[in-house]
Point group: C2
DNA sequence: TCAATATACTACTAATCCAGTAGGTTTTCA
DNA sequence: TGAAAACCTACTGGATTAGTAGTATATTGA
């Protein structure tokens, strides 16, 4: 149930970009320094975030990356889903339709579906803007 | 963010034991047949469930396993935590105190803590009894 | 126009973890 | 005493993770 390094680094990179959203394009070099993440590894993360259209890139001198949308319009769910591929707790939920041979009468699937809803619901509620505001209790979830 | 096979099989084994709770001790052989899980692999899962005192075992002829408590007193959280070790989304949360070098000023930790609370809160609300009742909407979570 | 600075792309690798198999020991009871 | 069960330890092939390395391509300021 761990979030991979790819997911965690993606989130940190996106938070960094949110913190410097007003400054135009930010280079991987700068992000790498501030976040203490190898630039080479960041390069490998970027394609995923790009594919999900979370970033705008500029090549060449003074190039870099920028959030494609306002930080208040990007959620942690989008970022982690982009990096992790999916947030489903079991792989049978990744196929549509679900082709698990035990599907019929499976007593565990409803549990995993419920878990998925809970997780994505929570992560959907957190935007980059909310994170950099860093308010107390912003992430407490009343149930 | 996937649940491992160990976790999934543990849950299925525990559900099986809940379904046969009134029948006394159930052998791994029977569970293996019904659940279509290798008996050898189940043998490797049992020690974890045992350590968490979720099972009572009987050796020898007509031996087997039994839930140590009523199915209404065992939650999915206990089972998965037992099999997975922990349900924390990031490993820095496993140490007490958290010794992450970036701890101070880490903007992501509150997110992961919130996620942990949401996940464990949900899984705590589901008991084995609830699962085998298999009622519609038992796992919908109103937020 | 060229050099510096970026992104973009592909390939490789060491280490770890996962899922499962194998074989043997011990305990219990009919 | 033998069958059936739990219990224990070790091994293994494959997949995944977390990187590193090297090169190609694009942009722009001097």
């Amino acid at each position: 149930m761990k979030i991979s390094t790819k997911g965690r680094y993606s989130l940190r990179m996106m938070i960094d970009l949110a913190e410097h959203y007003e400054e135009g394009f930010v280079s991987l070099k700068d992000i790498s320094k501030r976040q203490d993440i190898s630039k080479k590894y960041l390069e490998q993360i970027v394609p995923f975030l790009n594919r999900s259209q979370l970033l705008t890139a500029n090549k060449g001198h003074l190039g870099g990356y920028r959030l494609s949308r306002d930080p208040s319009k990007i959620t942690v769910r989008e970022i982690l889903e982009s990096a992790e591929g999916t947030l489903t707790p079991v792989s049978c939920m990744d196929c549509e339709p679900n082709n698990c041979p035990r599907l019929e009468g499976c007593l565990t699937l409803p549990i995993y579906k419920g878990l998925y809803d809970v997780v994505t619901g929570y992560l959907d509620s957190i935007t980059l803007a909310k994170i950099i505001e860093n308010e107390e209790e912003a992430f407490t979830y009343y149930i």
